[in-house]
Symmetry: C2
Subunit: 347 residues, 2 copies
């Protein structure tokens, strides 16, 4: 099995949800917070990608170049990606400046039956030594056979992987299964999936895609994105870790970025909170949350660590005493760690 | 395959999310709106069920009796249900008055390893000729073998079905599959599932349960419920209809109740909107939504019908002209229907 790659479209698909009004501060804060999370690529820009900012589809608050250079400044480990629909974006006016701004990875997209239009962009970018992925949008609108054909074209042009987008959130679990399976069997390159949550199954459709051999998942933190939103990456990662799949991602850093940054950019918060996800992962009933928050604050420990420990101890009802005991023990352990750290640094 | 039954816990599990402050108006409005939807049972009351209202777990705004009689007044076709945890609720003080208030169906619940405590309540209710289901909470906390044993006890006591609750939202798809499969194989009565959405997979876990033979799904409109919320029933029903399963439920009535009533009761709206669900079901990109809303208003037609028709016509981008044409046609058709209706009523 190929190592799973995660593409983070929070600062691209999320743009749709706020009419492309991302600020430089949003971008800087998010990239700073996520750079050490193990995320493979953060995709930044207008919802419709490079060159799309316009009166017709919506004007970005800042230019592509301003957004990309802001992101690049704060991404040391994580790659900077962009989305590009040929027609909106051209090589001369958009791709060349994006390369200059430090973009590492390009997602070149077309409607699911129109891979031909991506040829020159994909070929150009490969020649320039960039990472390039082919994206097929609204994948549900064609047959699996035709989709495989279009994907094979992109593979021929030099795409390093093909990501299909469930742009309308129209996927049934069965459609995901059949489609990803066919693509994985026919292509030599990675296959990826970008779900939307219109019928409430984006996270599970991503899981199904992975089961069928998809090795790229493109989603967003807190599900921030167009329409019903995307596959909420931190929920997916929690589930994967729970089932023993090591994603290489730091879940707590993702949850922090979700709570502290993304929830504040969203105009209407429809995502799952960190404590919802952690309590599910820890297998602890949500009624513990207020007690956990209070104890975490009082003893200066992470409420998520308390939840995980409550889970280990298999609590059932609202045993408040146990919450306090666990918080005290965690605080004690933390103090010892701090002391050992001071000693170690003296040696 | 047994006909699927849906239990609607919006006015019970939702109570948790608003500290049990449901008003009589909330209950009346909801029951009126849902009575003609084809819903099997609406469960009403305190989040922890009959007799649970207390300082310790939270006081309901109105007494159990006030809530139940209010609901009963507006439920002609749909059954009135209550939730009951022996210990909180007693036969004399709670069950007898509930029967007098017109409750049709009782969900008698215990922790997943403590079915014994439900014996006298289940036996009493069957003797009284009531519908009774056995509920096993926090089902993930025990082994499948033990869970089957506990469920068999409830079956022996006279329960007409067993519903397992994923109270902590801790289920992986695999756990749901194994557990429901084992219960369906071992029991002679219906098996049901009540998911929570902590890791974003409540709807798909319900689908998996149905695939494995579960024939009761207990969820809520808009996912309104404790913690991360529940399986959003209207999303699940949209998906089932899309895959050709006839639930007997009127999806539009559910979407109306979700938008017009439930979204206003929730203190923090984390549910999927009607247009999100319908656009996914119709396979149409969400960017059409503002155009659809405008055209629906202008021509006095249902925006959901426009979405479904856009789907039939396989639209791709933002063809605003087509939205208007479809809305005009729908308005024309509606006018003709109205005229035929007037003629028919004259005959």
């Amino acid at each position: 099995m190929k190592k799973l790659l995660f593409f983070d479209s929070t600062l691209r698909d999320g743009s749709h949800a706020i009419k492309h009004q991302l600020t430089k501060e949003n971008i800087a804060d998010y990239c700073k917070a996520m750079d050490n999370s193990g995320m493979n690529t953060i995709i930044v820009g207008h919802g419709n990608g490079l060159g799309a900012s316009s009166l017709q589809v919506g004007l970005s608050l800042f230019s592509d170049n301003e957004m990309l250079t802001t992101a690049k400044k704060h991404l040391k480990r994580t790659k900077l990606g962009v989305f590009l629909i040929p027609g909106f974006g051209t090589i001369k006016d958009d791709v060349v400046p994006a390369i200059e701004a430090g973009v590492d990875l390009f997602c070149v997209a077309s409607h699911c039956t129109e891979a031909d239009v991506t040829r020159q962009h994909i070929e150009y970018l490969r020649k320039e030594g960039k990472e390039v992925y082919g994206i097929l949008m609204m994948y549900h609108m064609t047959t699996t056979e035709k989709l495989v054909e279009e994907a094979m074209k992109m593979q021929e042009y030099g795409a390093m992987g093909i990501v299909i987008m469930d742009s309308a959130g129209a996927s049934t679990p069965d459609l995901v299964k059949r489609t990803i399976n066919a693509l994985v069997n026919k292509l030599d390159i990675r296959v990826g999936f970008h779900p939307h949550n219109n019928m409430g199954i984006a996270v599970s459709n991503a899981l199904i895609a992975i089961e069928q051999g998809a090795s790229i998942i493109d989603g967003t933190l807190r599900g921030f994105g167009a329409g019903a939103g995307n596959c909420q990456l931190e929920a997916l990662v929690a589930l994967l870790h729970k089932t023993g799949v090591n994603t290489g991602l730091n879940l707590y850093k993702m949850l922090d970025a979700s709570e502290e940054i993304v929830s504040k950019i969203m105009d209407r918060d429809t995502g799952l909170s960190a404590l919802s996800i952690i309590s599910g992962m820890a297998e602890v009933f949500s009624s513990f949350a207020p007690h956990v928050k209070k104890a975490a604050e009082k003893f200066g420990v992470d409420p998520r660590d308390i939840f995980m420990e409550l889970g280990n101890q298999k609590v059932v009802g609202g045993q408040e005493d146990m919450v306090i005991e666990i918080a005290m023990n965690l605080a004690q352990r933390k103090k010892q760690d701090d002391i050992s750290y001071i000693f170690e640094s003296l040696l």
